[in-house]
């Protein structure tokens, strides 16, 4: 297919330039001199501006994954229930009875820092499109957010804008936002993280893919018109921030959730017919990457008449049309003759519809503007020559153990109240009450629990369990262990509601990969994710990489956010709230020597002792699985009345969360009341309760599994009591837990 001139030749001395392109223009487009030489070799001539723009976005880190590809390939992506792993718009898993769950997580970090409302809103819009492009109706959104220190002067404004933007978009399109996580840390002062996840449900036999097929088939543009929004957004998303980038503000994309809602309905309506051969949303790098990917995956060529693209502004150029990141647009290949049917659907929903091109057998992308060819590129060589780097990396040195002196000098009631009311430990109600988490009427477990539980409309006995997790302070200390922990925690959160964890999506947020230490974090995180996925049978089916999260050379703490999806039978699910007084409280999965031991890198160490030191708690993946399987069996058997996994803040914070959710206190009897026992963050632990009548059944089942079930107390009263010492009342704990975020935001 590729003609002789397209074969990459060996780099020459000084490559040719044309169309006003200079080495400076090449650099502005984010291409290295070597990459430019490859462009010239592929074309057999100098590129014009339009072509240079196309290479620039296609080879950007954001689109080409050039730094990460080598390592992403190592992730486990298969299981009998995986229908589609990474490589399509979203991952797909089988959830029984002919249904499939379609999901993915994606970052919109830099845009959200520049314009928090629109940045976050368009992030939600983009991830929704990835999911309904595949034929799935979006049924839930989640979001993983990292902000700078509360004291940083920008933080409040960013929190307020990002949350309003996520809500503004999701609420309007009518998809419930059911979960997420939020951290505050000075390491994110200059680079916040906004990761959004969408989960959809589709008939398993009616999924839509992006590979174009059918020479001569029409290529159709639908949705919103194209303006000059976010031109070069994809290259920006891959460039490090510098002090003056706030000045060089690019044209910000403004989201239009109303149009997105119409687009969802129109696409799903057309997908119920046989009109669509292939479909691809126009995300980062807009028309360029969507048309390129469709043609490339189908092994075909494509011709586009750019003057037929619906335009919002006058005097737009082919360059702008190819690179615009205007939102709420889709590209489709239709079955021949289906144009009228499709047009009628999109006109009913008052959306743009235009036939802008055709598929060809040339293997080339040919762009025309009022009949004249303005770009002509070979597709395969461009895709294949897309750079892939094996960047040098250094493993992250293992931190020395933390100085834990003073840990037991703090009275536990004070420590508990502080942990449950600190920025990372406080309730995020102020945030999720701005999200419509109930629309569609299927939200069985609302935000505030371990995992959200969303009933399947077409299989109403079952529900999806959904969570996002990552603890950046663990990953920073030990990327391998920290990333494994993120996967394990997601798996654990799904297990805690009774669900069988099925698959995950990841969002890898890191600094500049050209620095070996940062690249080492990334490599380590991939290793950790791989280990945990294999041990837990929990494959990666989709994901996203966001690199260059740095400002003035300062990188963010490495944050591989994990979005987990599981399936639960509604009658066999459980929540974390204490249900009644007099229930027996059990701790499962604790180490033999004590209820808890590991204070290094804990929330306690950071918040109470002011130290971020030491290695993270080790995750024993074999034990993780054994304990989780036991917990799921206990819930399925109906033997426990509440279940919660232990994470940030350890045992006492976990018990306090259960007490607050249920409005019932608890008296604990532990080996001692040392900080490590109460606040240690040992992994694979759960707290469950059982009625006195069922407590023996819990013990019997644990014994059969070869795992101890420690009786650690009983639910009672309106306060927390440890070894006879009365701690804070629920009222005081609630004030601390619920008070911090609203108080901070009002400040």
């Amino acid at each position: 297919m590729s003609a002789a001139p397209d074969t990459p030749a060996r780099p020459q001395a000084e490559p040719p330039y044309t169309d006003g392109i200079t080495p400076a223009v090449v650099a502005e487009h984010g291409l290295t001199p070597d990459e430019y030489r490859t462009v010239v070799a592929i074309l057999g001539r100098a590129p014009n501006r339009v072509e240079l723009g196309i290479f620039s976005v296609m080879w950007s880190e954001h689109c080409s994954y050039k730094s990460s590809k080598k390592w992403l390939k190592t992730l486990p992506t298969t299981a009998p229930w995986v229908i589609q792993g990474p490589g399509e718009n979203a991952g797909v898993i089988d959830i029984g009875q002919g249904l499939a769950a379609v999901f993915k997580m994606e970052s919109h970090n830099h845009p959200s820092y520049i314009e928090p409302y629109q940045g976050a809103a368009t992030g939600v819009g983009g991830i929704l499109r990835d999911v309904f492009t595949m034929g799935a109706r979006p049924v839930a959104n989640l979001n993983a957010l990292r902000f700078g220190a509360p004291e940083d002067p920008r933080t409040r404004h960013l929190v307020s804008g990002v949350v309003a933007g996520i809500g503004g978009y999701g609420n309007c399109v009518g998809v419930p936002t059911v979960g997420g996580e939020v951290n505050f840390h000075p390491g994110f002062n200059g680079n916040i993280l906004v990761n959004a996840m969408t989960v959809g449900v589709a008939p398993a036999d009616r999924l839509f893919y992006s590979a174009a097929a059918g020479i001569g088939n029409p290529v159709v543009y639908v949705g919103s018109r194209t303006g000059r929004d976010g031109i070069h957004g994809a290259t920006m998303a891959s460039a490090e921030f510098s002090a003056d980038s706030e000045e060089k503000r690019p044209t910000v994309q403004v989201g239009d959730p109303f149009t997105e809602k119409l687009l969802i309905e129109a696409c799903l309506e057309l997908m119920a017919t046989d009109a669509i051969v292939a479909i691809q949303d126009m995300g980062a790098a807009g028309l360029t990457s969507s048309s390129f990917e469709m043609a490339s995956k189908g092994g075909l060529g494509v011709e586009l008449d750019l003057d037929r693209v619906p335009m919002r502004e006058t005097h737009m150029t082919p360059y702008e049309l190819m690179l615009s990141e205007s939102q709420e647009r889709m590209l489709m290949v239709l079955r021949p003759g289906a144009e009228d049917l499709a047009r009628a659907v999109f006109e009913k929903w008052e959306l743009e519809f235009a036939v802008i091109g055709t598929l060809t057998d040339t293997g080339r992308m040919v762009l025309r503007w009022h009949g004249a060819v303005v770009g002509d590129l070979p597709i395969d060589p461009l895709a294949q020559a897309s750079p892939e780097y094996d960047r040098p990396w250094e493993p992250t040195p293992r931190p020395a153990p933390a100085d834990q002196s003073g840990a037991d000098a703090v009275a536990w009631p004070d420590a508990l109240a502080r942990l449950i009311g600190c920025p990372d430990g406080a309730s995020k109600r102020w945030i999720w009450e701005q999200y419509d988490h109930l629309v569609r009427g299927n939200t069985l477990q609302r935000p505030g629990g371990d995992a959200a539980v969303v009933r399947l409309e077409d299989r109403p006995t079952h529900a999806l369990a959904l969570t996002t997790d990552c603890t950046p302070r663990y990953v920073e200390a030990d990327p391998v262990m920290g990333a494994a922990q993120a996967v394990a925690e997601a798996w654990r959160n799904l297990t805690a509601v009774g669900a069988t964890p099925l698959a995950l999506t990841d969002n890898m947020n890191f600094g500049n990969p050209e620095k070996p230490a940062i690249m080492g974090q990334f490599v380590g995180a991939c290793q950790g994710i791989k280990d945990a996925c294999l041990a837990l049978d929990f494959p990666v089916v989709s994901g996203n990489v966001s690199l260059y999260n740095e400002t003035n050379g300062q990188a963010i703490p490495p944050t591989p956010a994990i979005g987990g999806v599981g399936l639960v039978e509604i009658a066999r699910s459980q929540s974390l709230a204490f249900k009644a007084e007099g229930d027996v409280v059990f701790l499962l999965g604790a180490p033999d020597e004590a209820e808890g031991t590991w204070l290094d890198r804990s929330l306690f160490l950071r918040e109470i002792l002011g130290r971020e030191e030491g290695p993270p708690p080790p995750v024993d993946l074999v034990m993780e699985r054994r304990v989780g399987d036991l917990v799921r069996a206990l819930i399925a058997a109906g033997e426990v009345s509440a279940c919660h996994d232990l994470s940030d803040g350890g045992l006492l914070v976990g018990v306090a969360e259960m007490a607050l959710a249920g409005g019932v206190g608890c008296a604990l009897t532990l080996g001692d009341a040392k900080a490590a026992t109460l606040f240690g963050e040992d992994q694979n632990r759960y707290v469950v309760t059982a009625s006195p009548a069922k407590a023996r059944l819990v013990e019997a089942r644990a014994r059969a599994a070869g795992l101890p079930a420690r009786r650690i107390g009983v639910t009672a009263g309106t306060a927390l009591v440890v070894n006879g010492v009365e701690g804070p009342t629920l009222e005081a704990l609630r004030a601390a837990h619920e008070g911090w975020l609203p108080g901070y935001m009002a400040g």
């Binding site: 309003a164 309007c172 399109v173 009518g174 109303f258 809602k261 999200y435 988490h437 629309v439 009427g441």
Partner: protein, 230 residues
């Protein structure tokens, strides 16, 4: 009972509403597109569900209130037909002039999604017969523009004629500024028309009709309808 659920571009709680009817034992409703100029024959209830018609751009409900189907709804209501508008449906009904007043941006300018206390002010409307007088419900709200306002005369008339159907209150039924989630005048959460056959309300009874969803406080509203329209 023959119910129709209207669909505007941006409507998003139509399925929730249909399921609530189903759970209450009502026959399946028909869906009617906003460009229609007539309602199906033999209808006895028209429902305007929640959502963001036209994105809530310009003013919530403003553009939907000018769609062709609203003329048919107006005629239907004039002839004594029953109409229920929830959330965006309430906003559309006020914009269309079928109910008095207006719904403005929430007092603290933020979208609110949470369960609120709701006091049933009247049980002699066809929407509320299955509630006990003075009953206190816990029902979710999910809105950005739920701040009910009307001029003093209108408000006095609504109160005087006993047309306030629901008020925001605490768990004990006490109505105060502290229990007002959005700044509505008089803590008004829902009002009825003069003939009590048109109800507009901001909270979502349709989202609380099954124990699995966290409660059934919304269900009696649909059961009342079924009783009124056997």
């Amino acid at each position: 009972m023959h119910a129709a659920i209207l669909l505007f571009p941006g409507t998003n709680r139509e399925r929730d509403m249909a399921r609530a009817l189903e759970v209450a034992g009502a026959p399946a409703p028909v869906f009617v597109w906003h460009r229609e100029t007539t309602l199906p024959a033999g209808l006895d209830l028209v429902i305007l569900p929640g959502g963001f018609s036209y994105g809530d751009y310009l003013r919530s409900g403003a553009m939907a209130a000018r769609s062709p189907i609203l003329e048919a709804v107006r005629r239907f209501a004039d002839q004594g037909g029953m109409v229920l508008g929830v959330c965006n449906g309430f906003q559309i009904l006020t914009e269309a002039g079928l109910l008095p007043g207006a719904l403005m941006r929430n007092r603290d300018l933020r979208f609110i999604c949470r369960c609120v206390g709701l006091r049933v002010e009247r049980t002699d409307t066809p929407f509320t017969t299955r509630y006990a007088a003075g009953a206190v419900l816990s029902v979710p709200v999910a809105h950005h523009d739920g701040n009910y306002t009307a001029d003093d005369d209108t408000l006095a008339r609504l109160e005087g004629e006993g047309r306030v159907a629901f008020r925001y209150c605490d768990a004990a039924g006490v109505v105060s500024d502290a229990t007002n989630p959005n700044g509505s005048r008089g803590n008004i959460a829902g009002i009825v028309s003069e003939n009590r056959r048109v109800l507009g309300m901001m909270p979502h009874p349709e989202n609380l009709v099954e124990p699995a969803l966290g409660g059934i406080d919304g269900r009696p509203l649909f059961e009342s309808l079924l009783e009124a329209l056997p």
